[in-house]
């Protein structure tokens, strides 16, 4: 299941070589920063996987491991006043946009110090201070919100951009098409980033979509749609640069379909290999083309980063994660007063 599409991407002209070309347009600083963002996401997610397995984190966690290139490559072009909207699989987008790690970890631990004060959990992270106004766990639910934020930017005459991250499953929902139409009709500053990881829960894309090449949906609404290798940072970065620029300059929306793969199962730390949902072969195929590893190799081979620097980066991040977990563990739980607080803003009726 899913391998027909995996085959399709296998034959695509993507990979390290192509990446070289695109990445050449990035400065070493930019590349190092993206490597840091991706490594941080990867290590955070792996730690969360452990904490879920160990029972310390209870809330359902949809891990982003394997998809890091996309969040990093897109968010590299965003300012803090740009908005990112995400889904149930939101950790990577939150971190790439600059969301606070401690607040996120505390949220996963259900603590009052969490970014949503323990009321949201993994699927509902928030960081308004850096342009991350909340993620929706309703499939396709935040796509119209991104379009609306873009409309807001336009009405307010600010040159901000809204980005909607969503999965291939979301491309089955009517809200997606209604959103494409309105965004294109009004030429709104929004970028639609479809992270096509070929599965929606247990369902392979071909069983959900009559046209699994999702970028083709754009043509029906007169906006540009492109399909790219979501493991290829260069491709993602340059395409996103163009899409964000188009949006910022008032030329309207773009649909980016990024082919990718979630290494873990739909939810939690497992790999969904049992139960006949997907094959080890397929998983290996995708793990072998890990975008993060390719970027590291690129940086090392160019001398943009030394082995020692890379190790130091990992160590620093590991320390940061440990501190975040520690913070979460020692944070108080919300209590009865918190429960009744904040249905409405302003004085309680």
């Amino acid at each position: 299941m899913g391998s027909a599409l995996a085959n399709r991407i296998k034959t695509a002209p993507a990979g390290l070589d192509c990446q070289h070309d695109h990445l050449a347009e990035c400065s070493p600083e930019e590349l190092r920063e993206m490597a840091r963002v991706m490594t941080r996401i990867r290590l955070v997610e792996e730690r969360i996987a452990e904490l879920v397995a160990g029972g310390e984190i209870i809330c359902p966690c949809h891990l982003y491991i394997g998809q890091e290139v996309i969040a990093a490559g897109v968010s590299a072009h965003l300012r803090p006043d740009d908005f990112v909207f995400s889904t149930h699989r939101s950790h990577g987008h939150y971190l790439a946009k600059g969301g606070d790690l401690k607040a996120m970890m505390a949220e996963l631990f259900g603590r009052r110090t969490g970014c949503s004060r323990g009321k949201g959990g993994s699927m509902h992270l928030v960081a308004p201070e850096v342009g991350y106004p909340g993620s929706s766990a309703i499939v396709a639910g935040s796509i119209p919100l991104a379009v609306g934020a873009a409309l807001g930017f336009k009405l307010r005459r600010v040159d901000c951009v809204a980005v909607a991250f969503f999965g291939d499953g979301a491309a089955c929902e009517g809200a997606f098409y209604e959103s494409l139409n309105f965004a294109a009709l009004k030429k709104l500053p929004v970028v639609f980033v479809c992270e096509n990881n070929f599965y929606s829960t247990h369902m392979p894309l071909e069983e959900m979509q009559a046209e699994p090449e999702l970028y083709k949906k754009a043509a029906g609404f007169n906006l540009p749609g492109v399909r790219l290798d979501g493991g290829n940072l260069g491709e993602v970065w340059t395409t996103a640069r163009e899409a964000v620029q188009r949006a910022r300059q008032g030329h309207g929306p773009t649909l980016m379909e990024c082919l990718t793969y979630r290494w873990r199962g739909h939810v939690g730390p497992d790999y969904d290999l049992d139960k006949d949902l997907r094959t080890l072969e397929e998983l290996n195929w995708w793990m072998n083309r890990c975008g993060l590893k390719k970027l590291e190799e690129y940086l090392l081979s160019r001398g943009f980063i030394s082995g020692a620097e890379a190790a130091a980066m990992v160590q620093e991040i590991t320390g940061e994660i440990a501190a975040a977990v520690d913070f979460a563990r020692h944070s108080p739980f919300p209590d009865k007063k918190d429960l009744y607080l904040g249905v409405f803003k302003g004085k309680q009726p």
């Binding site: 106004p133 639910g141 409309l151 807001g152 009405l155 307010r156 209604e178 309105f182 249905v343 803003k345």
Partner: protein, 337 residues
Amino acid sequence: MRTLTYAQTFNETLRQLLRGDETVFLIGQGVKSPWYVGSTTLGLVQEFGESRIIDTPVAENAMTGVGIGAALSGLRPIIEHPRMDFMYLAMDQLANHAANWYYMFGSRVPVPITVWGIINRGGEQAAQHSQALQAMFAHLPGIKVVMPSTPYDLKGLLVAAVRDDNPVLLVDDRWLYEVQGEVPEELYEIPLGQGIIRRPGSQATVAATSFMVHEALKAAAALEKQGVDLEVLDLRSVKPLDQELLFASVIKTGRLVVADAAWKTCGVAAEIAALAAEHLFADLKGPVLRVTLPDLPAPASAALEKLYYPTHQDIEAAVLKLLGMNGQEVEKAASGF
């Protein structure tokens, strides 16, 4: 003070809100149409342009989400739905998103939207073009629901809704559009959550919403001739509800009829009755009666519509029954199957 119709007041208030606050805009189906939403939006697109008066494609779900997203980006949209029947298509954005956002994200991101939901019934429009869905929204924790019955209240509640930092549904019944009343020129607010006694009385309370307030007043006038002194309470706001006023009235009169022109089961009238059963048991001198729609889809034929929609006569019958003054049954309203 000037006398305006409800529809004129709507138009004027929208205009003043749009003039007074750059962050306010109007989005919905028909807002630039000469007829789609009556005369409430006439002239707005001419004055404010298509960027602030956004007539939309027929796509209720995303268009409602677009309003919510714009609110997240700092604006104060008024999201109009020409019929509540079409709001079913927008329920996900309203219930899962707007109503949850502030709480779900730990009080960090408010959603200051006003949802203008129009009841457009009668005229043989039938089951998909007649619905009154206030109860569904009142059932949701994170959305306020107001139901103005007079031009004055409309202005004050609409202003308060737009200025409120939370999702507020304003339920607008087109049967009110010709109602006249005195309305101040300037903008003013009626706090969300305040009811009002429309007619003080001593023998029974009719707690009514929206159009039914006028029916209740008619009933009061008719009953007065029979020597019955009715108190008419206009709830104005269904959520939050002015329990204090409701309770005080019932404590005074000892009798309660609830009048709400929507379905009976799990309706707003059920909630008011339940509150009475919970908090006013000792004060009640008799059962709490509901005057509502029967639990039936809206029929087309005018012959059936006449039987379907509750009127002052149903209220009169209920009150008389409570007072034991009449064997008359509250047939229509109490049919409850």
